[in-house]
């Protein structure tokens, strides 16, 4: 493995990495200075991000610069405009944004300011999941420090550019990671996703133009502005550029959040970064990018970790969070755990999702406990097909259906074995502490 160029985690882990002095000392706020002192125009900033080819790191992989360009022309639309940073990181397996916010909060703040400049944003809200207290406190302290240094608030760096950044706490609902559910929640309501269209760039927070971006996406921006689109485009693969934070968890020797060039084969991440499968065991199944992307079999582990290659094998890059299952793990048990999760997190607006997630949970549980039938397996598939794609207001139903269809496609033998043997063949490895109905 040749050593890749790293930037995302350059400061993380350093003594005082969360402070303004360490951030300044390592070139921090240089990109913002370049924007404001050159000065660059709004269009130049957006075009640099577009040319760099940055794709959103929150799950959909949508080009960030293109998203920014959807914000209405300020000369024709004088409404207030908002930016939301989606830091409601809740996709099972995903814990990368937490590292950035905790270890390098000024990097996110600088990215917010540059994005806010480019889109003429009046106020930025960073919506952090409520459980992330330490990252929240670190970010709040960094914003206070930046404000005292004239980097947040009025007339930033003595320029005409002013921008407020507010922290906002969520309260533990996965659905608020969906951008319109997030906006409802930020307005103080239940996190019920809104039908689209209208899209947030036209009608967002409080009905105003709004852009919603993931933490890691925004974190990339100062590097692109400082080092240039050409530098960024050299990193990663042709269609998915730059490095990404890969959280790898489950049955590996060294679980962790690693900075990896996009396009690195999943096997290399598993073996070289995470030290391979733990306890000398072999690979049974893996998720490429969080639980909603579905289980894949071992023979696909050489697939490059980037959006198009993962899509080509019938899955999704998602948040790039790999979850690894060794040979002793039970894919039915894993499916039951995730079905329980989606059942718990469905907001209840759409009947396909509200009822479907509950049924998936009950059926996977019954099969895992040994009471399942072949009809149950057929019903799993029928249910999943009835829930997705595109049959509901948001994609939570899809997120529950995809892993269901994936386990039937790749691990049907294991479902059948549970039915035929009337128990979980791997029960010893999957015992519950007690019966917990959620």
């Amino acid at each position: 493995m040749s050593a890749p160029e790293l930037y995302l985690l350059e400061r993380a882990g350093r003594e005082g990495s969360e402070t303004l002095s360490v951030y300044h000392g390592s070139g921090g706020y240089k990109a913002l200075e370049k924007v404001l002192k050159t000065p660059l125009t709004q269009a130049e900033v957006i075009s640099e991000v577009r040319e760099a080819g940055l794709r959103g790191r929150g799950g959909a992989g949508f080009p960030t610069g293109l998203k920014w360009s959807f914000m209405p022309d300020h000369e024709k639309d004088s409404r207030k405009r908002y930016m939301v940073v989606n830091a409601d990181e809740s996709e099972p397996g995903t814990c990368k944004d937490r590292v950035l916010m905790r270890e390098d909060p000024h990097g996110l703040i600088e990215g917010c300011l540059i994005a806010a400049f480019a889109m003429r944003i009046d106020a930025v809200y960073i919506y952090v999941r409520g459980e992330y207290r330490k990252p929240y406190n670190r970010l709040q302290a960094a914003i206070d420090e930046a404000r005292a240094a004239g980097l947040v608030g009025d007339a930033i760096m003595g320029s005409e550019f002013s921008c407020e950044i507010h922290m906002h706490k969520g309260a533990g609902a996965y659905i608020c990671g969906e951008e319109t559910g997030l906006m409802e929640s930020l307005e103080g309501k239940r996190g019920h996703p809104r039908p689209k269209p209208p899209f947030p760039a036209g009608v967002g927070l409080w009905g105003q133009p709004t852009t919603v971006n993931n933490v890691e996406s925004i974190f990339n921006v100062p590097f692109i502005i400082d080092r240039g689109a050409t530098w960024f485009a050299r990193l990663g693969s042709e269609e998915s550029r730059g490095n990404f934070l890969c959280g790898i968890s489950g049955h590996v020797e060294r679980p962790g959040v690693y900075e990896v060039p996009l396009g690195t084969p999943a096997r290399e991440i598993l073996e070289d970064y995470a030290g391979g499968i733990w306890k000398g065991r072999s690979l049974k199944a893996w998720f490429p990018g969080g639980s909603s992307t579905g289980l894949l079999p071992p023979d696909l582990i050489d697939t490059p970790m980037e959006h198009d290659s993962i899509k080509a094998i019938g899955s999704m890059f998602g948040t790039g969070a790999m979850i690894i299952l060794d040979e002793t793990a039970c894919t039915v048990r894993a499916s039951e755990v995730l079905a329980r999760f989606y059942d718990h997190e469905s907001c209840g607006q759409c009947s396909q999702c509200r009822e479907g997630t509950e049924w998936l949970h009950q059926i996977f549980r019954r099969i895992e406990e040994g009471g399942g039938s072949m009809e149950d397996i057929a019903n799993l598939e029928r249910l999943a097909m009835g829930m997705a794609p595109g049959k509901t207001i948001c994609a939570l139903a899809d997120a529950a259906a995809i892993p269901t269809l994936a386990v039937i496609k790749h691990f049907k033998n294991e479902l059948v074995a549970h039915v035929e043997q009337g128990c979980c063949p791997l029960k010893a490895n999957t015992a519950r502490a007690q019966e917990v109905r959620v």
Partner: protein, 156 residues
């Protein structure tokens, strides 16, 4: 009833962050739960309704939607064990069993002495340091049974 003066002042500041004061509701519920006894009482809902210009049932609708808001009294210490996939793969059930054994609390309720509430949580975003639990708002990660003992014995 009304909020204590310090919270009232804090909320007056909070709502300046938003063009519509209702947006302050969820952050305010967090602060109430932290400072006013660990759960969202009917009185807190009424006070929030008055402050934010809502009906009490609207506040209830919000508070009951979000898992972090507790609608019944909690133990002196609240332990939330993550039982989602990454934690499950690395021994969350053993951690949960140990927590139950040490505290005498059943999942979802308080121990008889009122000292502990134990709950199970969905993914807490600490997957690469699984298994984990949240104890009174602080993450404890890379747990095993010995570490659970050490942490819980430290509380007694």
């Amino acid at each position: 009833m009304a909020f204590p003066a310090a919270l009232q002042a804090e909320f007056e500041e909070l709502i300046k962050n938003y063009p519509d004061r209702k947006a302050g509701l969820i952050p305010a519920l967090h602060r109430c739960q932290e400072d006013l006894g660990g759960w969202i009482t009917p009185e807190i809902m009424e006070d929030c309704a008055e402050f934010f210009g809502l009906e009490p049932v609207e506040v209830y609708g919000v508070a009951s939607f979000y898992p972090m808001f507790k609608l019944k009294p909690q133990g002196e210490h609240v332990i939330g064990v993550c039982h989602n996939l990454s934690c499950d793969l690395r021994g969350a059930q053993a951690v949960l069993a140990r927590v139950i054994e040490k505290t005498g609390a059943k999942v979802g309720s308080r121990s008889a002495d009122g000292k502990f509430t134990v709950e199970v949580l969905e993914c807490q975003g600490a997957c690469t340091n699984a298994p984990m639990f949240d104890l009174d708002g602080v993450y404890h990660e890379d747990l095993d049974e010995a570490r659970v003992d050490e942490i819980l014995d430290g509380l007694r």
